[in-house]
Symmetry: C2
């Protein structure tokens, strides 16, 4: 796969033209999708290049000299962002061609996704102009690019920290959500790409770019439709060996497929075809943004388990039963611990109202951090266990006090870093009171623990699903290595 | 089904003995499962009867005169709560028989659920003593009864308000969770029953009681195992006509079934059998406490829809697609709105970057409450639509201001109360920033709106699943009425 140097200028532009910035745009105005807000977004992200607003009716906007057209800008333009009414788009594109500006993010919407005849026709014209002029169109009907390292992005309050995760999405709203929530899961971004109706550049083009992008290690995708399915399959099969591909294929139900047509005017494709796609590529399936985030967190921070046998350390007999059901449904095994482990556990755990078989229901250890540590060690040493989910109630913190919480965080971090047992451990917090101190503690640990290699999940379903798919990914690679 | 007057005294006791209250129990000590904490719980709930702590080594505990045995208490005892080590249980039960006290909540655990031979034998002995002595044992290994009207309960900080919902559960932890979180879903309780290993009274006995209980209108159940499945099936089939039965049958996976044995020593039964059970009874299936809570909220506050065709009013094209997928997967239909409705919507909604087909992706209406109201009216009037899910981002509140939020709450309440369109409407809030003001607003609306007949769901999955099962319940009743 070859590096695409022309596309690279779109991802790290020095000169950006923003067409359609309103003449009375003010700094500090509430964010609204469109070029008028993008200027502020760039500035928030510390963009170091030059921004040229384009508006035929203004000479200066927010202190920036404003040009009447792209072709009147006095230097070569690396990226043009177009946010004008749909009818005005053909002229703007002709202007870009005249200016020899090739990378065009078309925010403008209102084409085949409306289902209106006129709008569909206009879309065809736009596509033709772009192809004739050799324009690399990102969109139309999309939010374009967020690249923290380059200081560019179309949403407010984005993080300026870079990281190894890319998102490639036909939904700008999903980009918005993921870009903002990623950090809560310990996720930082290399490139976030909203590409909408994909007139010129399609998922396969961006994927080619991300495959060669040295900054990107994990690729998340939200796809509605694909133009060249065979190419995508071949690409993902290849890339997935090196950079895990986590893919949400939306619109697989009949209703969803209809919604796809109204959103990006794409053809969603049949469910059976996509099942085959996943089976052949080994791509990691997801069905929501939360799932994408949870799985990305898992790929980022968890060491591959040797098998899929999980131990769950929790609280409450009913929870044990549902934990076992949940893990089994997600594809994990929940074996009974060995006799030896049980004998050791019995030395400090009374069996009345408890269970040490697995899932473990041992309330005692959530009142004494040293006992929890001892239990984790014993479970981790059990040869029947490949991975551990610890599932404490947050109100444990109130019982043991802040010192012991810090001790536990350190213990878990050491456990993960030293990896003496070669078994991943993840956390699933329960909350019982929904009190402010609990929400604060959860928010803090949700950021601190993943950084130390201990992912934190909101639900046991999320934890077990992510671990199961993570294991299956590595199993797929192992099998393919043997083939 | 006959009212059981003897059981009634257990649910509204005037005289309660608590065996095993520790001699040095202090008021205000942190709650821990066991009789020592139960005294405080009763007091918190405003229990108006008399509490007799029983402890052979004390004469007074927390200012209450303490007795050496149940039989030394100077008046007839309506309910005995036993929280002693398992080995001491047989003697306590003999004491109860001598005192002619029949209703015994056995908190004590440590029997067949441990899998230990000695403990299993002890359990058989206990069961034999109870049967010989005609004791109505609740438990063992359980948290017993929470009845707000009677001022009794085993957990701290319980609500003292009564309501129409009963929970019957083999897990005390689940009772704890549901009792505390119920109010967040607008749920208040008639009776919450934790019955553990079910030595004497089994689910079918409690169910008989709840069926005749005038205070109970909806029955939620968490079951691990059942002694008399045929009886349960007959009962649920009958009761479900009048009082919806929402049932979580746990332990249906192999791992879950093993966990059931370790928890309440029950036999979980096969998945196929339980599928048949649901098909024959029309009971509403649930697979977690959250699902139980969401469905209970739906049964409490939603008027039965005539069909299963849903309109989703949301924000973002990607969200539209996933909304359609989610609704379809949960069993709802998402039809395209009629041409007439679309024509009316187009009068105030531009199609660029929007969709008015269904799901509706119309960002505009979330910036102007009057437009949202207009949109809801039009969608509700569409003959192809049976129910509506409105799915706003919470940050809408920041855009429109508190006055408009109040206006919207009033509009939604009126919509639901007047029910002019005969179509239920529910809310699914998205949150984008996780900021304190958002959490506060969500918490407030989550309580206010259900009270006005507008249930609020955390996720679209929850909303569509609840509506689908709610519709299926009523469909089942209609079909049976025809049969």
């Amino acid at each position: 796969m070859s590096w695409n140097p022309e596309l690279e200028t779109a991802f790290s532009p020095k000169v950006v033209a923003m067409v359609g910035v309103s003449a009375n745009t003010k700094r500090g105005a509430p964010w609204r999708p469109g070029a008028s807000s993008f200027v502020t977004c760039y500035e928030e992200l510390g963009f170091q290049g030059r921004i040229y607003p384009v508006n035929p009716k203004a000479t200066e906007i927010m202190g920036l000299k404003t040009y009447h057209s792209v072709s009147s800008i006095p230097e070569p333009v690396d990226l043009v962002i177009v946010s004008v009414p749909a009818q005005a788009l053909p002229d703007v594109l002709e202007d870009c061609i005249a200016a020899n500006a090739k990378n065009i993010h078309v925010f403008t919407a209102g084409f085949e996704e409306t289902g209106e005849e006129e709008a569909i026709e206009l879309g065809s014209r736009v596509r033709q102009i772009a192809l004739n002029g050799g324009l690399r169109i990102i969109g139309p009907n999309c939010m374009g690019l967020y690249v923290p390292r380059a200081g560019i992005g179309s949403f407010e309050r984005l993080s300026s920290e870079s990281g190894p995760v890319a998102l490639l999405s036909q939904s700008g709203g999903h980009c918005n959500w993921f870009s903002h929530y990623g950090p809560d899961y310990g996720i930082k971004f290399s490139k976030v790409i909203s590409f909408g109706n994909a007139y010129v550049l399609d998922s396969t083009d961006y994927l080619e770019y991300l495959a060669s992008d040295p900054e990107t290690e994990i690729i998340c995708m939200y796809l509605e439709g694909v133009k060249d399915g065979v190419k995508l399959l071949r690409q993902v099969r290849e890339i997935n060996r090196v950079k895990p591909v986590i893919l949400w294929k939306a619109g697989l139900t009949e209703s969803g497929s209809r919604a796809v047509a109204s959103h990006t005017g794409s053809l969603a494709g049949e469910e059976a075809i996509w099942r085959g796609f996943f089976a052949q590529t080994g791509a990691v399936p997801a069905f929501s943004l939360e799932e994408i985030a949870e799985m990305t967190m898992t790929f980022l921070y968890v060491k591959p388990p040797r098998g899929k046998r999980v131990a769950v350390i929790g609280l409450g007999g009913g929870s044990s039963v549902s934990s076992a059901d949940v893990c089994a449904r997600e594809g994990l095994e929940v074996p009974t611990l060995t006799r030896e482990t049980q004998v050791e556990l019995k030395k400090f755990i009374s069996l009345a109202g408890a269970s040490i078989k697995n899932p473990l229901d041992t309330g005692l250890v959530f009142r004494d951090v040293s006992l929890l540590e001892r239990e984790i060690e014993l479970v981790a040493a059990d040869p029947l266990i490949d991975m551990i989910i610890v599932s404490p109630h947050l109100d444990m913190a109130k019982r043991v006090g802040p010192d012991q919480v810090d001790r536990l965080v350190k213990y878990l971090s050491d456990f993960s870093r030293d990896n003496a047992f070669d078994k991943p451990l993840v956390i699933n917090f329960h909350s019982f009171a929904n009190e402010p101190w609990e929400n604060e503690l959860r928010a803090r640990l949700q950021v601190e623990l993943p950084r130390e290699g201990v992912p934190v999940f909101d639900s046991l379903v999320g934890a077990s699903r992510s671990l199961a798919r993570f294991f299956e990914y590595h199993q797929f690679l192992r099998r393919r290595a043997i083939d």
